[in-house]
Amino acid sequence: MSKVWQIAVREFVATVFTKGFLIGLLIVPLIGVVLVTIGPRLFGDRNRTVEGEIAVIDPTGVVLPQVRSVISARRSPVAVTELIERARAGDASDMVLNALGAATRLTLVERPAGADVEQEKLWLNEPMPAAPHLALIVVHANAVEPTLGSSNLGSYDLYVPPRLDNRVEIAVQGVMREAIIDARTDVRDLNRTELSLIMSVPRVRSTTVGADGERNTVFGLNIVIPAAFMGLLIMGVMFAGQGMLTTTVEEKSNRVIEVLLSAVSPMQLMGGKLLGHMGISLLAMSLYLGFGLVALTTFSLFGLLDVKLILYLMIFYLIAFFTIGSLMMAIGSAANEMREAQQLMMPLMLAMMLPWMLWWPMVQNPNSTLAVAVSFVPPINSFGMLLRLASAEPPPAWQVWLSIGIGVAGAFAALWVAAKVFRVGILMFGKAPDMKTLVAWVRAA
């Protein structure tokens, strides 16, 4: 045991007391901070201007003036403020809100009511126009008033040129929506402002009433907490797995491995490396978890966290670490260099990507068939089950215990396979092994 401990201590010290570790440790929260604070400023193209011409064919004769009016109003800041108010009142879709991010400088090209639509479509693809031709709009005859014998109202047909920015289409649709509603209220002699006022019910903010008191409900926490726990688990496992893979490949390529094997058995070496890197990733996870808990306490949100989740995090971490970490170390032992290791890692990396790809549907419906299935399939069951445990609808206890049982069995199987590959691979140099060779090693060792 003391030899295993010596190996573990060396791995821990050689990794933790390096600049690389500190940088690696800081890079994840740093990316988070960048995404949260600077990201929206970087990605949000607020200066984007939707500029160009839209042609309108209006058989009703009442929509066109409203289009003209909306376009001119859209250029006024007062009108934009009003639109925002109406959007908040639920009077506009998300698309309109998105469109508000882009300033509109549309120029209306009025076409006769009886214009040939096919002929007008050619206008969209005219070469080298003075201003971009953004859209051709053909208002339906029943857009404002229903036709005889029907109670339905129509809308309009929208034709656009190829490769048109989505934001342009959103802006055009916003303009047409406003114009048609204005036309409809005018025809019926209704007061649009009053209607908007009547329909305006501001969104309220709920108050969460708990055993420990009341607090403002934090919207989205039921999504953020499961994602944070799953992210922490993936980060911890990958942190350790990547470290074990890299150091094993390095020890092999440095040819220090045989010196080590003269002092310890392959199993002692593997055990020491597992222990050392488990310590490293537990340190990293503890730091992140600590930061998270401090943040929750600072914002008086600690009470929203079920402390049992930390216990589950540890249980599922150990399962995932021994399953994935041991397989990554086996891959490291089989490869001669990192490039080969990356090729062998591909199936494992694909498996590791699954929780990321499935987290959104799983967090929205934690008891769906997909979520239940994922929480029983090693090596990703730990991620799936932890996500469900942290969600708003935790799974029944029997599913948790079954997932732990399957996970432990999977971890033992992975350790068994990894030990066999490690024992043979660690002294194999030359041609990189393929999957078939790895299977042969498992059988032979």
Binding site: E251, E258, V264
Partner: protein, 317 residues
């Protein structure tokens, strides 16, 4: 307690259908200094790895320091592998301390021991240098130090002289002899025959997985060739024509500053010596002795393509 440091009995190892070591028997007594020679691919490293329990034999029995496996005696074995390296980012003294601790050396006094050992090999001042900062020769010395830092009872060195300059070679030779004097059993493999001849008590040669020589060095080198003389002229210059004209002489060739004179069939060596001395004054004239290299080439040379068919001395002339 067994008197053998290493005992191999019918040990066999096969890789993908190729027999690297075939029914090898070997006994190395405690305190002996053995050379392990053989051409490339003969099975030396595989044998050494099996002795070290890094590889497990497919068949046969193996005992190391009286125990059934080197795994049980690793702390008493020093090993320098053929393919060796260091942790590049680790500093020299911590590296040696790490290896020593793995070998069961107590932490107490370890630092002093490591510093003294580094000074002993003439590298004082490198203790806090990273291993990647060392020259190749310095690295080799540190690797050798790592093999003996725990004062092993059995020292196994796989090609320890490869890549060393003459000064380092001399240093290593002294280290090996010092370990042997301390009482350690030493087994080292080498391609450098003069060194094996100079250092070893006993030589084992392996060829194509079979043992083809297992004798004390003095026994191997004892036979003289009565049909050849080694001749060193007194003034360094000789008249080859006069030598060739002698009826006893079949040929005369220069070899590394001396001459080898081949004698005709039926000629008495003593009569030939007298004739040669009558023509050219000599600093030295003697019957040609076999070198270990001669033995090696005679067994593993290209004209002995099928050598090594038996596990014994049949091929070792």
């Amino acid at each position: 307690m067994s008197n053998s440091a290493i005992e191999l009995s019918a040990v066999t190892k096969t890789f993908a259908g190729l027999t690297a070591v075939d029914k090898l028997d070997l006994q190395i007594p405690r305190g002996a200094l053995y050379g392990f020679i053989g051409p490339n691919g003969a099975g030396k490293t595989t044998t050494i790895r099996m002795i070290m329990s890094i590889l497990l034999p497919d068949a046969g029995n193996l005992r190391v320091l009286g125990l059934p496996s080197a795994l049980e005696a690793k702390d008493r074995i020093g090993y320098l592998p053929e393919e060796r390296g260091l942790y590049r980012k680790m500093k020299v003294a911590p590296y040696l301390m790490f290896i020593a601790k793995l070998k069961g050396v107590s932490e107490r006094g370890l630092k002093e021991r490591v510093y003294a050992a580094i000074e002993r090999i003439g590298l004082k001042g490198v203790e806090n240098k990273r291993c990647e900062e060392l020259s190749k020769g310095m690295s080799q010395k540190i690797q050798i130090l790592a093999a003996i830092i725990h004062e092993p009872a059995l020292l196994i060195l796989d090609e320890p002289f490869s890549g060393l300059d003459p000064v380092s070679t001399r240093l290593l030779k002294d280290l090996i002899l010092a370990e042997h004097r301390r009482g350690a059993t030493v087994l080292f493999s080498t391609h450098v025959m003069p060194q094996a001849e100079e250092i070893c008590d006993h030589v084992v040669m392996i060829h194509r997985g079979h043992k083809v020589l297992d004798d004390p060095v003095r026994t191997i080198l004892r036979p003289h060739d009565s049909r050849a003389l080694t001749f060193e002229p007194l003034d360094g210059q000789i008249d080859l024509g006069a030598l060739h004209a002698l009826p006893e002489v079949e040929r005369c060739i220069a070899v590394n500053g001396h001459y080898e004179i081949g004698l005709r069939d039926g000629v008495s060596a003593s009569a030939a010596m007298r004739s040669v001395l009558g023509v050219v004054p000599a600093a030295r004239i003697e019957l040609k002795r076999r070198s270990l290299e001669d033995v090696f080439v005679s067994i593993a040379g290209p004209d002995r393509g099928s050598a090594g068919g038996a596990n014994g001395k049949a091929v070792a002339a």
